[in-house]
Amino acid sequence: MKAFAALVHREFIEHRGAFFIGPLLLVAVVVAMTVLAFTVGRVDVRITGSMATMLPGVVLFWPAMVLGVAWGLYLLAVLFFYCADGFAADKRNNSMLFWKSMPVSDFRMLLAKLAAAITILPGAVYAVVLLSMALMLATAQIAMMINGTAAMSSLLGLVTIFWNVALIELVQLLVSLLWYLPFMALVGAMAVVVGRWAIPLSLLLPTLAATVEWVTLGGLHPFETRTWHYLSYRATMREAGMVDTWIADGPMGVDVNSGVAYALDLISRIDWLQVGIGIAFALGVLYLASEYRRRAAAN
């Protein structure tokens, strides 16, 4: 277990630029821009303070959620490139022979990469999400203090918003990682075999699979096949039902205390059988990739 944790840690060291340092720099730039915007009067600090006091759902909860979605999209992109590149990195950077001199099987090596993709790497981005949210709320608190409307209740309100949004985004992140696990494993396994060609191939594969079904079993066209419908279902992001209500009602109707309700609703809506099938599929393709890696020339 110690060795496995160390292998997961090495993935973080190798990819911390994309998953931690890069996002931190981005946050630093946004903070600098925010300070500048307030300093030069582009954003009025008193109006911001008043709005944050009167409409915390509009000024704070929704922006915090949007911030989370933006970081989620960033994470989606870097995880895709991590799987398509990181799984082949040992070969590309000529360190395969070194890692093969370690008492770790190829399967455990790949499993550590996949484990990193669903733990420490998104965890690092989540930590940056929390930091950026805390900075945003701290900015609101300072604006309220300058405006003279800051009170203990407003601080508690900010903490409530922080806790609820953090919980929503954590549960959303965990569920999404589990839901998309088979896709990540498939892209990673392809990368073991074809290297960076996994990027275009993984985008082509669903169409190819649907076309094979259309050619062999018939149908109106490749996008009206069971394969395509299943892949569309598996590729759709799961979310709690209240998102539709929030969108319909607009920012004014949002309940800033909806963290636990969102989490429970999301968990209840997940097709756990499909999650189980996805985990089994991920382990299967990873095993096949490890057997390829075991047999392929290391130098």
Binding site: K2, A3, A5, A6, L7, H9, R10, I13, E14, N93, N94, S95, M96, L97, F98, W99, K100, S101, M102, P103, V104, S105, R108, R294, R295, A297, A298, N299
Partner: protein, 297 residues
């Protein structure tokens, strides 16, 4: 009186390997006992690295090979607890710092000692905070050697460990290996093109040519079996040829003969007799069918 039989560290029987239908190894048979320092020598493409890769579980093969009693291809991960190797000094993960590498290895490898690795780096210019990608090739070789020497392994395999290094680094590398690492319980297998540089440390030699083992013997036996005769006089050449040299060449006006199994008393009247260097022997034996057609040990 009871006699303890120690199993060989490596045993190969009928070891064959094909790449795309072309056979690279043609059924090698050999045993490597514990506590020896083996030199595996051959031309480029002779099958040295393929043989080592088979021993290390890095490639599949036909026939049987056992390393420390285990099938290396089936049990590579387990085997690597007791086997260390350097196949390419440039293979260290470049994104790590030296201290990060040691910290990871202390968790990944049960027989790795960070303290030993640090002590092996004393006296070098390598510092824990340095990124591996910033190290020179020589420093990289020193670091890699420190890493493998800090692993308490029974078998150490070095495949061209000093490739591309200058003579100073090469000498330091081998001296360090011999002084700080080798013990009676450890076995070392080494391949290099600079055979003369490792000749002093070898206990056994294997010559491989086109996938066949053409020489496998202890260095003492090599010294007893092979002789080199330098004959200046033209009239002695015919007499030397009559004794069946395995190799003959002319260097700077002198004729050099290499003999296999000819008593030195017979050669001494014909010129200056000495033991051929490994590189001379290598050149000589690479041009004849086989040096020891009997089954290798």
């Amino acid at each position: 009186m009871s006699e303890t039989i120690i199993d060989p560290v490596v045993t190969a029987r009928g070891l064959r390997k094909k790449f795309g239908g072309k056979e690279i190894l043609h059924g090698l048979d050999f045993d490597i006992p514990a506590g020896r320092i083996y030199g595996l020598v051959g031309h480029n493409g002779a099958g040295k690295t393929t043989t080592l890769n088979a021993m290390l579980g890095l490639t599949s093969y036909e026939g049987t090979i056992r390393v420390l009693g285990e099938d290396p291809f089936a049990r590579r991960a387990h085997l690597m607890e007791n086997v260390a190797f350097i196949s390419d000094v440039a293979s260290l993960p470049r994104f790590l710092r030296v201290r990060e590498l040691f910290a990871l290895l202390s968790n990944i490898h049960p027989n790795f000692s960070t303290d030993k690795a640090r002590s092996f780096l004393e006296g070098t210019d390598i510092r824990p905070e340095m990124k591996i990608r910033t190290l020179s090739k020589g420093m990289m070789a020193q670091l890699h050697l420190a890493v493998v020497m800090a692993i308490d392994a029974k078998l150490l395999v070095l495949d061209e460990p000093t490739l591309g290094l200058d003579i100073t680094y090469r000498k330091r590398f081998y001296r360090r290996l011999l002084e700080d690492y080798m013990t009676e319980e450890r076995t070392l297998i080494i391949t290099t093109h600079q055979v003369d540089e490792i000749e002093f440390m070898l206990s056994d030699i294997m010559f491989i040519r086109d996938g066949d083992l053409i020489l496998h013997m202890q260095m003492e036996t090599v010294n007893e079996k092979f002789s080199q005769l330098v004959a200046n006089e033209a009239e002695t050449h015919a007499a030397a040829r009559a004794l069946g040299p395995v190799y003959e060449e002319t260097r700077f006006g002198q004729t050099v003969f290499i003999f296999d199994g000819v008593p030195r008393e017979k050669l001494e009247p014909l010129g200056k007799v000495s033991t051929p260097t490994l590189s001379d022997l290598f050149v000589a034996l690479m041009q004849r069918p086989t040096a020891n057609p009997e089954t290798a040990r």
